[in-house]
Structures are given as C-alpha cells and as structure tokens.
C-alpha cells in the first residue's frame, strides 16, 4: 500500500493503492472517472484506452506504480463541451450504438489524428484494430475519423 500522485486531465489526484493495481481501476474507482471501461483486462480490446503523455495505452495492463509523474488523459479530459473534432465527428455520423467501447475508440482515434492529421484507410486500420466494437460500428468509426481529419485540416488552414 502506498500513496500515488496521479496527473489526470491536468488535475492532480492522490490515491492510496497497492503498487500493482491496474491504472484502470484507480481511474474508475479511486478517482471516480468511469468513462474509461473494463473490457478484457489483458490489453486485447482497447475499451480502457487512455493517453499517457499523448500516446494511447491500455490502462487495464499498466500498474499504477509505473505511471507516477506522467500525464494521463481520459475521455473526460478530451474536451469540456464535446467539442473535440473527434467527438463532433462521432456525433455527426452517429457512430456509437451501445457506446461501451467508444471511449477507448475515441482515445485511439484522437491519438492517431494528433500524430497523423490525414490518415489513410490503412493508417486507420493499423491504429484502430486494437479496439474491439461488438456492436459493429467500425464502418461509422472509419467515416468519423476521415470527417474529423477534414475538420482538423480546415482548422489549421
């Protein structure tokens, strides 16, 4: 048992946890941000995806002790008002169905677009195939990423 300072969405949280506690459960149950989801626990489905220093990582497989001092962004930190281009595009194409995997999908997509604002279909395949959607929204997710990409490139003009 130890005390850990976590920097999540630019806020600092102090939690008490066993060092091996997966970051996922610290975020959900200790900090109370439940947008990040449990799906498999072995980094196979991507429902728990968050950004660690801007990179998409699977929080179910990262011990809380390993990420101290690093910057974490969860779905709740993506924007204050659903205004991130990826969130807007997701709503535009009405991508979610049950929605459970979508936090992870959106975190993977936003990380992709951050690095590669104009991804090809192959780039999308590569960046998104770690995220499982059981409702089968892949087709709309692809559409939404292309749409968000357009908005991002318009913004930067």
């Amino acid at each position: 048992m130890a005390s850990y300072k976590l920097n999540i969405n630019s806020k600092e949280y102090t939690i008490e946890a066993e060092p091996q506690t997966p970051l996922l459960w610290a975020i959900r149950d200790e900090v109370g941000l439940t947008g990040t989801k449990y799906g498999c626990g072995i980094a196979q489905c991507g429902a728990c995806t968050v950004h660690l220093n801007g990179n998409p990582v699977r929080s179910c497989s990262l011990p809380v002790s390993a990420i101290v001092g690093q910057s974490i962004t969860t779905i709740e930190g993506l924007s204050e008002d659903n205004s991130h281009p990826v969130q807007k595009a997701w709503l535009d194409v009405q991508a979610p169905q049950c929605g459970y995997c979508q936090s992870g999908q959106i975190m993977s997509a936003s990380a992709l677009l951050e690095k590669n604002p104009s991804p090809s279909d192959e780039d999308i395949d590569q960046a998104m195939s770690g995220n499982v959607c059981r409702c089968g929204t892949y087709h709309r997710i692809r559409k939404a990423i292309h749409l968000a990409s357009k908005e991002i490139s318009n913004e930067s003009k």
Binding site: E16, E18, T21, T34, G41, C98, R134, Y138
Partner: protein
C-alpha cells in the same frame, strides 16, 4: 486497504454532471442515494411538471418529459419509444427531454428481446401519445367553449381554428391531467408524420462520446464493496474445498462466501470474494485454491457433441413443415432414372455473446430491508423476485425495492438472464452493504450460457420434369426445453428463418432435439443465426446444380412473395449484381425473413496478392414502417459485423467439460482491419406493419459470405467458423 473513497458529494464534483446530464436527457443516478435518508431518489422523483400518464409529464412552462421505459443496449430505443409518443403528442423532439425510467409495473412490461420493442409498442405508444394530445385539446376546447374538432395542434400548442387564439401545452396541463385519457384516440396519418420515418440524432450518444453515460458497471454509491466469483470450469460441478483464509489474508478482502447462480433450473455454485477494491477481490480470488468435483461433466467435448448430432441427423425427427411428398420425390414415384438426389451436412458451433460490458450487477440490501439495485439487464423488473427472498409482500415490492436501469454495454440476448443480479443480491443480503459484482472477461466467455450448436442435413431432389424437392433436417438443443422434456413437440424457437415460401414441389422441414448439459440462451437472432446458414447456402447449392444464377433462382422460386421479390430486385440493382466480376472476385447473396422483417445481403470478396478481403456488403431491408431510418441502418451494419465474427473468428469449444476459449486472445472478435470498408444498407418504403430490426440483418450474412466464397474459389463452406485466408 484504506482507499481514498469518494463521498457522494465528491462524485458529483468530480464528474460535475448531475444537472448537465439531465439537460441532455439522461439521469445522473448511477450515483445512488444518500445513506442518511431512506428515501432512494429515482429519476421519476426529479421530473418537473404535472404527470398526465406514467410516460408523459409537462411542466407549466411547457417542458415535455417522456420516459424511456425499456433498457437501451445500443438499439436506439431510448429515443425510439419516446419519438413514437412525441409524434402523436404533437411536439417536436427538440421540445422533449427523455429520461430513463426506473423499473416499475406502471410502465407495463420493460423487458427487451426478440427485436420486439418497436414491433410490439408501435401502436400502444401511438395511442398513448394521441390520447395525451386529446386531453390537452379537450382542455383548450373547454377553455374556449368550442368543440374539440375546432382545435388543432402544432408543436405543443393548441390553436383555435380560424382564429389567432392559441394555448401552449404548459397552460393546459393542469386541467388536462384531470381528464380521463380516451381509449380510442384518433391517430395521425402516416403522411402527416414529422418524426417517425426521419433520421434523428440520438440524445444518448452525447454521453457516449464524453464518458458520462452511466452503465451498470459504473454504479457508484457510498461504501461500495467489490466482488468477483471463482467458478467451476466445467459449469456445473460442485465445490469440494477452498481456502477462505488465504483469500482473506489479502489486504482489503472482507468476506468469502458461496453463492448460487441459477441457469435453467440448474444451481451453479461459485465462491465470491468481496473486498474494498476490485483489485483486492481479484487478488483474493487467486488465493482460493478451489477444488471441484466435476466427474459427471468431464466426458463432454465438442468432438463428442459433433458425433452425437451427426448421428441424430440420420433419424426421421419431428415434423415441422411438409409440402408435397419429399420422401417420394427421392425416387419412389415411378420412373426414377432421371432423379438426382444430393445431400450436404452443415454444422455451427457454440458461441459466446461477449457483450463489451462484462456481466455485472450492483445491489444494496439495507439493514431496514429496503433495496437499491442497478440492473444492467434486458429484464430489469426484479422487484418481486427479490421481495420474496426478503419476506416483503408483493404489494410493497416496488416501494421497498428500487431498480435503476443503466445503459447496457451490449446485450445480444445474454442480459435477459439475471444471473449476475441473483449472485450480487445474495452477497449484499448477507453483508447488508452495497456490493458491485463484476464478472471477469474469462468468466463471461467460459461460463455461458452460449448460443446453441447445431447440425443440419440438407437434401435436394430434382428430375427432368423440373420437379424440385428440399428437405432441411435440423439437429440442435433447444432453449425452452433445457429444464423440461419437450414432449414430442418442436420447440417454438428452433425453426426461425427457415424459408418455406420457396416454391418447391416437395418441402420437408424436420427437427431432432439434441439434449446435453451445456447451457444455451437467446443469442442475437437465436435460431435464425444457425438455420439460415445451411438453408440459404443450400439454396445456392441447388442453383448451382440447376445451373442458374443464385439471385435469379431465388427470384423465380419466390415469385408468389412480392415483398421478397422487391427486396431481391432492389439488391440486384443496388449491388450491380449482374455486372461481371474480375477473375479474382466473388459475390454471394442470401435472403432471410426473421422477426417480422426481410433482409437480403450481397457480399463481395476479392483475392489480391494471395490475401482475401471483403471490400463490400450491400444490404436491402424491408422492415415495414420504421421509426428512425438511421438506426435501422446502424442495426443492420451491426448485424453484419456480429454475424461475420461468428462466421469467421472463433467457436467456443469444449474439452473435458470446460470451455477452452476464455478471453479475446483466443476468442477473437472481428476488428477494424477485417471489417468491410463499404457497407451499403438500403431500406424498402412501404406501409407494412413495423418488423424487427435488431436481429433480422444477422441470419443472411453468413450464407451470403459462404456463397461468395464458393463463387470466388469453388469451395463450399459448410462448417462455421472458417478462416477467410485459408479458403
């Protein structure tokens, strides 16, 4: 461990959403109620205005609140039912706030399944909306001293015809609420619909892109404990020993206890580990060293199941449908020299539902015998069941037991079984503390209940007089007879999606029940998912034998069914079916009626550099009148992916009585890189009664795929799943 537990006030600060979420249309009550008061705050308690009926409340300032009374699992029903009410009520969706209901008999039946919601509630909810409109109009007419027929409604305002007099609903609600709702209100004409039939954005999706949507697994309440359950790997063994002390030696573990899970009458024992954190519970579980007696089940294997089913396929079986004389068509009808008979065998495996949100439940049985439940369930009305176990009379069940309906992270039929709630209730009842039970993904995959396995013997007969016969012999376990004998009858569910409309001279459909101990349960499209694959693949085999294009063959043989014909014609046109494909391309078609709708798919395959891909799927859906076309399209896209996963990825296989696949590494899901990039869904426009939407797109996808494989490679796929890269 002494966790830095959040108190209720901090939950609200951290998430900052109590008010904001209500504003966008769903309740914030994943957060439970303050323990300082016995009153449990439910969504209904927070609605502003005067209730005209259990579904509709209007405030004096004109805000309209409509309850979403059945669970939302992705199908869009959160908005779908309120939209039907709003249409007849005469308001726009912008004027409506949708609030998730809690479980109560005042809403009638709240369970979902069988692609039934819109089908069964379309008329009753229109009548409810229209009756509500009529009392508002009556209130206005009374105020003006005119007949109701001199009034008209537009966007929540009643107008006196031929004048400028207008009364908004907010001014009328107080007097309207005192009037009796008419039993036979006048319904709108379809031509006057403003909401039904138009693509509208779903209000629940806002919370699904910002993390605020409350699923069952997100339930939070003060002092919440977490539970995980160790289970017998062979499903129905009995526990012989376990080390509770070792589990309790893990810091944070509070209790270890046996719990029971009922699956079709069979009681399965598990060992629950309850702790202050979920991580501590899972660590404690690892130390249980549980031993099980499972000798009775150790002989069960997929191999033995397959052998047994193939054997049963040789039996005559029970009659389901007979036309003409199929047996005679095979040769006893005189001159038999030109009769051709061909038989093929098809097989489909057990599969898991794999909802992205694993099974879970949160229950708080309090010291005073009141209960708060967060039910991630397709059948959330659990009050009476729990009341009986607490000695609460039925007529007090709803007052003492409150049930939240969170969003469901998928259902697919799995969440119509409340086994996780049953387990969680036992734990909380023993501890009198709030408990959240979370099944691990491994529990979720290995413990079932599963989609049934099945075996099919398909036989065709034809002769030079163009006489055609078809027999479909189904062998499978049945869902409804797992805990009782079938008494020589064909269980109602097992014949879904077998198309006896085909105009063959002799048709025979028969069934043999295969009883075994593996529990099975409703799985998206149920027997449609297992029957359509052999049936529509074999129609293709017949077309091939008769040297006819498979789509044209279907058109010829379904000519007495105009809805099928129109769907096929539309598919032919939209998919450019008659265009010649390249040498390394293939196409396949299938058409299936299930759950009151007809869906046809055309699947296109391509082989490039030795790799097979599926660039395109074109679909045509005839579901009669639909509410939100974009949701019909979304459900069909989803059915395609769910069906392709079952066709192309992994089966649940059994060895020594235990499921061998446990998590997404061995039980793989179709992913983005494997999904068709181009999915086109076209809807038929007609005035037929609404059909189902959540399932009918699934049955035709596997046969359309297998038929495309045949077209591409000449190989007939008769066993699912298969690997597209090994065809």
């Amino acid at each position: 461990m002494k966790a830095n537990k959040l108190n209720r006030r901090r939950f609200l600060q951290v998430s900052g959403m109590a008010g904001a979420m209500l504003a966008v249309g769903f309740d914030s009550l994943a957060f439970g109620s303050d323990k300082s008061t016995l009153k449990m705050i439910m969504p209904e308690d927070l609605i502003n205005g005067i209730q005209i009926n259990p579904y509709v409340t209007i405030s004096e300032s004109g805000e309209v609140t409509i309850m979403a009374h059945v669970p939302e699992l992705g199908q869009g029903i959160f908005q779908g039912i309120p939209a039907i009410i709003a249409e007849e009520l005469g308001v726009t969706m912008e004027q409506v706030t949708i609030v998730k209901a809690s479980a109560s008999r005042k809403y009638g039946r709240q369970s979902i399944g069988g692609s039934r919601s819109v089908r069964s509630m379309f008329m009753p909810m229109r009548q409810l909306g229209a009756a509500t409109r009529e009392v508002l109009v009556q209130a206005a007419a009374k105020q003006w001293g005119v007949d109701a027929s001199n009034c008209e409604v537009k966007e929540g305002v009643v107008y006196k015809k031929g004048s400028k007099d207008a009364l908004p609903y907010g001014d009328l609600v107080a007097s309207a609420a005192k009037l009796e709702l008419p039993k036979k209100p006048t319904l709108k004409n379809k031509a006057d619909f403003n909401i039904i039939g138009k693509a509208t954005h779903r209000p629940d999706l806002v919370g699904k892109v910002n993390g605020s949507a409350d699923y069952g697994i997100d339930a939070q309440t003060e002092g919440l404990l977490y539970a995980t359950i160790e289970r017998c790997p062979t499903l129905q063994g009995t526990v012989t020993s376990y080390d509770a002390d070792a589990a309790k030696s893990v810091k944070g573990v509070i209790e270890v206890m046996e719990v029971t899970r009922t699956v079709y009458g069979k009681k399965n024992t598990g060992i629950a580990v309850v702790a202050e954190t979920y991580y501590a519970a899972t660590e404690g579980r690892k130390k249980l060293s549980a031993e099980w007696d499972n000798a009775e089940f150790s002989q069960i294997s997929t191999e033995s199941i397959n052998t047994d089913m193939a054997q049963l396929a040789q039996e005559k079986g029970l009659e389901h449908f007979e036309k003409g004389d199929f047996e005679a068509s095979k040769g006893q009808r005189g001159a038999s020299s030109d009769i051709k008979v061909k038989t093929s065998h098809y097989r489909l495996p057990h599969v898991a539902h794999s909802c992205m949100e694993p099974m879970n439940a949160t229950v708080h049985v309090r010291e005073d015998n009141t209960v708060e439940v967060w039910a991630p369930s397709q059948s959330p009305q659990v009050q009476r069941q729990f009341a009986r176990q607490l000695g609460i009379p039925d007529n007090q069940a709803e007052e003492k037991i409150k049930v939240h309906l969170p969003f469901l992270g998928g259902g697919f039929g799995r969440r119509s079984m409340n086994d996780s709630l049953e387990e969680c209730f036992q734990i909380s009842k023993a501890l009198r503390k709030p408990v959240k039970l979370i099944w691990s993904r491994e529990d979720d995959t290995t413990q079932g209940p599963f989609r049934q396995t099945s075996f099919h013997r398909m036989t065709m007969s034809f002769n030079s007089d163009n006489r055609i016969g078809l027999q479909h012999k189904v062998v499978s376990p049945a869902i409804t007879t797992q805990s009782r004998p079938s008494n020589g009858r064909v269980p109602f569910e097992v014949m879904e999606a077998i198309n006896t409309h085909y105009d063959f001279d002799d048709i025979s459909v028969r069934y043999s029940e295969y009883k075994n101990q593996i529990p099975i349960h409703w799985w998206r499209s149920v027997f449609g998912s297992t029957n359509a694959f052999p049936h529509e693949s074999f129609i293709d085999e017949m077309a091939f034998e008769l040297k006819v294009d498979p789509l044209q063959f279907r058109k010829t043989k379904l000519k007495s069914e105009p809805r099928f014909i129109k769907v096929l014609e539309k598919l032919e046109e939209q998919s450019n079916w008659n265009e010649k494909l390249g040498e390394n391309e293939g196409k396949g078609v299938a058409i299936v009626e299930s759950f009151g709708s007809i869906v046809a798919h055309a699947v296109f395959l391509k082989r490039e550099n030795g790799k097979v891909s599926m660039p395109k799927v074109v679909s045509v859906v005839d579901c009669g009148i639909y509410v939100n076309p974009d949701q019909v399209i979304a459900q069909t896209e989803g059915n395609i992916i769910y069906g392709l996963t079952a066709a192309l990825k992994d089966a649940i296989t059994f060895k020594n009585g235990a499921a061998q696949e446990a998590n997404f590494d061995t039980y793989r899901m179709l992913r983005m890189n494997e999904a068709p990039r181009d999915i086109q869904v076209h809807l038929m426009e007609n005035n037929e009664a609404p059909g189902g939407v959540g399932e009918p797109g699934l049955p035709p996808i596997a046969p359309a795929l297998a038929n495309a494989v045949f077209d591409l490679s000449g190989k007939r796929m008769r066993i699912l799943p298969f690997d597209l890269q090994k065809i």
